[in-house]
């Protein structure tokens, strides 16, 4: 314990000394860590960060629903499901393989160009759709992996108790599967929280874009650091929760509970 503390403090002091004694430190401090610039940009970035939070919360719910549907379609053995399975497989392949940024650009600018009746034209909702499509593919794969990790004997025992395939899935397999994949799922959501910044590319003024506006107006980078802090602060609780869940799962598995 003492050793850990001493070595941590020493490392920090050495790092601090090395960085602040660099010849360019003064310029870096003025450009990246200026307290007045930080204060000036804070309210605007805070307002814009509400957009990120809103996008994250809405997208998360939609992603879970879509991913669960896709994952289940892909594991169900019923022969009549074949075309749906094909669609689900193509969907995961395509959207997992396409960078989220491109999906946002394609949906944000491409969907309205189609002039479809009833398609949303509001960029915020187009952005939500894009995030849902992109992350839905990742999360579907995570959930599918969870389902496949449940031992076949669980299926067999469910069926032998007279439950239908669907009921077995619903009451026996899915609960176990979801519990197993909770840490990677949360990990994906941490990632999603950050990727809401990508929505700026279709014209939405969210935290990063607001920071960029301030930054390029005055040629300073402090607002970008402020925006980064917002994302970090919002991510930490989720990250710690993920750690705690993984730890708990590991303990249970080793029987130490």
């Amino acid at each position: 314990m003492t050793v850990a503390a001493v070595s941590t403090v020493t490392l920090l002091v050495v790092l601090w000394f090395v960085i602040t004694s660099a010849p360019g430190w003064e310029r870096v401090r003025e450009t990246y860590f200026d307290w007045d610039d930080a204060k000036a940009s804070f309210p605007g970035i805070a307002r814009a960060f509400v957009v990120n939070i809103k996008a994250f919360l809405i997208a998360e719910v939609l992603i879970l629903a879509l991913a669960l549907l896709v994952a289940v379609v892909r594991v169900v053995p019923a022969p009549w499901m074949a075309p749906f399975k094909l669609i689900a497989t193509v969907y995961t392949d395509v959207f997992r393989g396409t960078p989220t940024l491109l999906v946002i650009l394609l949906v944000g600018f491409g969907v309205p160009a189609l002039d479809l009746q009833g398609a949303p034209s509001d960029v915020f909702w187009l952005g939500i759709i894009a995030l849902t499509l992109s992350y839905g593919a990742y999360v579907a794969e995570v959930i599918r992996a969870g389902i496949l990790s449940v031992h076949p004997s669980q299926w067999a025992s469910g069926r032998s108790l007279g439950m239908s395939y669907g009921t077995t899935l619903r009451y026996v397999v899915l609960p176990q599967a979801l519990r197993r994949v909770t840490p990677p799922l949360l990990n994906d959501f941490v990632s999603l929280q950050k990727d809401t910044a990508l929505l700026s590319v279709i014209g939405i003024v969210e935290a990063l874009r607001q920071a960029q506006i301030d930054s390029s107006r005055d040629f300073v980078f402090t607002p970008i650091v402020v925006a980064a802090c917002f994302f970090i602060v919002a991510t930490i609780p989720l990250a710690r929760f993920t750690d705690w869940l993984s730890l708990r799962a590991a303990r249970r598995q080793s029987g130490a509970l």
């Binding site: 034209s121 960029v123 279709i202 014209g203 003024v205 960029q212 390029s216 107006r217 040629f219």
Partner: protein
Amino acid sequence: MISVRRTRTARAGALVAAGALAFAAGCAPADESDDAASDSASSDADCSVEALPLKNAGRLTIGTDAPAYEPWFVDDDPTNGEGFESAVAYAIADRLGFAEDEVDWVTVPFNTSYQPGAKEFDFDINQISITEKRAKAVTFSEPYYRAAQAVVTLEDSEYADVTSLDELSEAKLGAQVGTTSLEAIDQIAPTQQPGVYDDTSKATQALELGQIDALVMDLPSAFYTVAAVLSEPSVIVGQFQPETGETEEFGLLLEKDNPLVTCLDATIDDLSSDGTLDDIEEQWLSQTTGVPELS
């Protein structure tokens, strides 16, 4: 408000050059005649090619963003001397004593042009507006151009016929990040959050898709956008002088405290007083007259 027509009597070293912009900012506008008198003194004395503090000895290295748009550049090729900024750059190079083949161009994305530290260009020419705050991070030359802002919309838009900025307050407006246009939007006091885009192509895309009602950009760019970028029929609703930000003046961007600015300023003064800049403006930006003023 910054006034950049300034006097310069010193054959200045680095220190004076560094202070010049801040000095000019606080200073009252000076007469043109003062400029002319001081020019010849400084340009003859310090500004021979051998004496210039250059990145590559004997060669002038100029930065600009890619793609390089008309009317500032032609055919996305800064090296051809065509387009307003390319012509200005070569006029400056010529006046400093560089032959055309002694000028090198490097690509500098706008967002990296103001990063702290050493630059790979002697100066960057990229429609960069001079502001006092920006001048803390980089050094600006004197302005080589003053731009008005313009409002662009589609021909069938309900905003195509407005005659005042007030009438635009209900519109969803858009602009490119890092431009004075974005600040000029404050002058319209829009009720909706403006769309902010990485570059002109995304902004025009949003306009065509109806995600924004009108686009605010500097007047010469507006001409090019209406003529060549937008595929749907579009119009320049009108022009206005920005009042919310500082006056829209484009300057050359240099690494902070680069003493080269003294010679560049003297050269720009020269080009301005002998009418060369006006001629170049006439040649490449002549369409900018005849657009109605928005009150």
